[in-house]
Amino acid sequence: MAGANGVGKTSLLRMVCGLAPIESGQILWNGKPIHAQSEVYRQDLCYLGHLNALQESLTVNQNLAFNAALAGNAPEPAQMREVLAHFGVRGRGEQLVRHLSQGQKRRVALSRLALSEARLWVLDEPFVAMDEAGVRMLADLIAAHLGKGGLAVLTSHQQVDIGAVPAQMLELRA
């Protein structure tokens, strides 16, 4: 999803998640309005907004475990180590989030995707604050998710090649 600043990309994504109210129209998931089945829908949903949703006073592992718990999952420590290493924050698991750089925090936040079993990913500007390698890795992660039959809705200002999977481009205009 693309569009100029302030055109309403984030608002639309928040509506898709069911966080913001819809003024007109409806959002369906499996043919049913999301508000009529919010608990089922939330099991299928993983949302990553502008905010990293990391508690600064806790360690990276504590944050990852908590975020996974909210989705009803309890990842093994080895699994979390592996995911962090994959996201280029190897060995930071026991560090406090407040001691990480902005880019590292974003990487930790994104690593939640790798631990998620949700079918629908809603990502708001996931490529912001990422270096080139990070963008590549995230694009691969999204491609793998799509390859497994998943669905991803994301906003971006840069054209990122996610691979040969069918992608639909929506451009919002004021």
């Binding site: 998640c17 949302y47 504590q62 009803g72 406090l96």
Partner: protein, 227 residues
């Protein structure tokens, strides 16, 4: 990956709050120190007449505890709101109301329970007897969870509002009145030989009522704040 039941997710919220508090001990100690200081100001203000102090003690301790418990309420959801964790909680497959219970429980454990444990020490200062101290602790033990539960509604309603602290007190203090009346009244009723069972039953009833309704109200208020 192992799956968690809803109650495990709620206890994950509780454990997270406790871990955060262990890293920021000052925030746990502030209400406790406030409680001690406020309760100690009264003898200085009204003079050292022991009969007067003894009569005032339950009320003074209860008002101080109530204000101290309110002191830390504002932060209940504020950090999670600012860093985006609250959004994630709202999108959790576990009902938000249940997560709110975890939050309120953590507020009781970290703010209410220390007050319950500190109260007899302060009660001694006022010259309360052992039996009265016991009743005071019992009423606080039943009352402070209610304060946390009702307080969570106010904390949710004032999220992201400027001057949230003052607004929170204005919203919540009137709702605290029944808890205060039956809490402070129990010790006096016992001293007058009337028995304190009725007061305790009413406090327990308030706790049950707020345990049922407060999470629902808080959940709705949080969803509105997040829009």
């Amino acid at each position: 990956m192992k799956k968690l039941g809803m109650l495990s997710v709620m206890s994950a919220v509780l454990r997270r709050e406790v871990s955060v508090a262990m890293r920021q001990k000052g925030e746990v100690l502030t209400p406790l120190v406030f409680f001690v200081v406020v309760a100690s100001l009264f003898p200085l203000g009204v003079g050292p007449e022991s009969a007067l102090l003894l009569r005032m003690a339950p009320g003074v301790l209860w008002v101080s505890a109530l204000l101290a418990a309110m002191l830390s309420l504002q932060r209940l959801f504020a950090t999670d709101f600012a860093d985006g964790s609250l959004e994630q909680m709202a999108l959790s497959s576990t009902p938000l109301g249940l997560l709110v219970v975890g939050k309120a429980l953590s507020h009781f454990l970290l703010s209410g329970l220390p007050l319950v444990l500190m109260a007899p020490v302060l009660g001694l200062q006022f010259g309360l007897e052992g039996r009265s101290l016991g009743i005071l602790m019992l009423t606080l033990l039943l009352g402070t969870p209610t304060l946390s539960l009702i307080g969570s509604i106010g904390a949710a309603l004032t999220l992201g509002v400027r001057g949230a602290g003052v607004l929170l007190s204005l919203l919540i203090l009137p709702l605290y009145i029944p808890v205060l009346i039956f809490g402070a009244g129990a010790v006096e009723a016992d001293a007058a030989g009337l028995g304190f069972g009725g007061h305790l039953s009413l406090l327990a009833a308030l706790l049950v009522l707020s345990a049922f309704f407060a999470p629902l109200a808080t959940k709705t208020a949080l969803r509105i704040s997040l829009e």
